[in-house]
């Protein structure tokens, strides 16, 4: 059996979620709506029995500084350490990688003209870890899946276009399907939704835009891939441009993928969205 992408998830990676988990405050009234939304997602994921999660995310000046900044950086290691973002290292076990799959993806993606930066050592931070905490929580035995981190520059303009991110997803799908060994892959696109963290417009959110983005991500992602960075930033806040990363996830799914879960919660300064898709005909 060839390997395949079995599901895709778009979700926000708000940093304050990390300490809430570390302190066991998930049932606090302000946080419960967010965490409750992930209960059915985790049961669904358990049934899908994925082997690997490809996590498309962005670093926040923890591992990548501006002296040298890659547009697309793919992890190719057996393990990823927990990075200190400036607040101390969270008490989490190292995250297992799948170096063989990473190497295969690098070979295929570069052949497909996506010129990646290859990282044989990479610390991971909230952009990667919060989605893992929500979807694939660790136990004393460690994390339940292996991972492949894919870091996208969404903070230092010029950024890759939304279309380029979508096409990277399409290339990832092809690359996964040419990997021998029946590996089951879930792809996560993380960041956003609407938020702005600087300037007088700090705290700006736009639920209407976010709901529209979720609608279109399901119905017409090709059209979303034509969005300019400017339009996203103007309508949803400068930092909302992280949403282009969701298009990599969506591009990696087939047109037949069905939406399963959807949730939205915007308590403070970020529209926290969640949407899941499943590929049909997945019986082994």
């Amino acid at each position: 059996m060839p390997s395949r992408i079995v599901a895709g998830i778009g979700l926000s990676h708000v940093p304050s979620v990390g300490p809430v988990i570390d302190r066991g405050r998930q049932s606090a009234p302000a946080w419960k709506p967010l965490f409750d939304a992930y209960v059915p997602v985790r049961s669904w994921l358990e049934k899908l029995e994925p082997d690997v999660a490809i996590v498309v995310y962005n670093d926040h000046v923890a591992e990548f500084g501006f002296d040298k900044y890659p547009t697309f950086a793919l992890g190719a290691a057996d393990r990823y350490v927990i990075a200190d973002e400036g607040f101390g290292t969270r008490p989490l076990p190292e995250v297992p990688g799948d170096a063989e799959l990473s190497i295969h993806l690098c070979e295929r993606l570069i052949e497909d003209e996506f010129d990646l930066t290859v990282c044989q050592e990479l610390g991971v931070e909230h952009g990667f870890l919060v989605p893992m905490n929500l979807c694939f929580p660790h136990t004393s035995a460690g994390w339940p899946v292996k991972t492949v981190p894919l870091q996208v520059n969404v903070i230092q303009h010029p950024l890759p276009t939304a279309r380029r991110c979508f096409r990277l997803g399409q290339a990832l799908r092809k690359a996964v399907e040419s990997y021998p060994g029946n590996t089951r892959v879930v792809i996560l696109g993380t960041g956003g939704m609407s938020h702005q963290l600087q300037g007088k417009r700090f705290g700006f959110m736009n639920e209407k835009f976010d709901q529209w983005f979720l609608d279109e991500l399901e119905k017409d992602p090709e059209q979303l891939a034509q969005l300019s960075h400017h339009r996203i930033m103007e309508q949803a806040g400068a930092e909302a441009v992280e949403l282009i990363v969701w298009l990599t996830m969506r591009g990696a799914l087939s047109p037949k993928a069905k939406r399963v879960h959807r949730h939205y919660y915007a308590p403070m300064t970020t529209g926290m969205g969640l949407i899941t898709f499943e590929e049909p005909g997945l019986d082994p």
């Binding site: 304050s16 302000a30 000046v61 501006f66 990075a83």
Partner: protein, 113 residues
Amino acid sequence: MPQEIPDTSIFDLRLSRRGLRLNRMCAALCSPAEREAFKRDEEGFMSRFDLSETEKQLVRKRDFAGMIEHGMNIYAMLKIGSVTGNSLYRMGAQMRGESYEEFLATRNIQDAV
């Protein structure tokens, strides 16, 4: 070059070049030893990263809007927040020209901090 959006800073290469020293200093704060060094001797720490007098003044005054204007990246600035006791929301309130309490009152669910 990105077009202007009101009350918004877009971190492009011109800003990044301007803020290179500030952002390098902040990146160093991802180490516990460096955070201690900053807290112990802020002036010495800033000099070590070759900050200009203007940049030092912005840090001394905790002028977050000014730092952004001088090329500090928002995610780098969070690390200055960490060593000076300013959360993202406190920095945000200042950038909006509001007290922390005034800012919280504008939120949907104030307890999700």
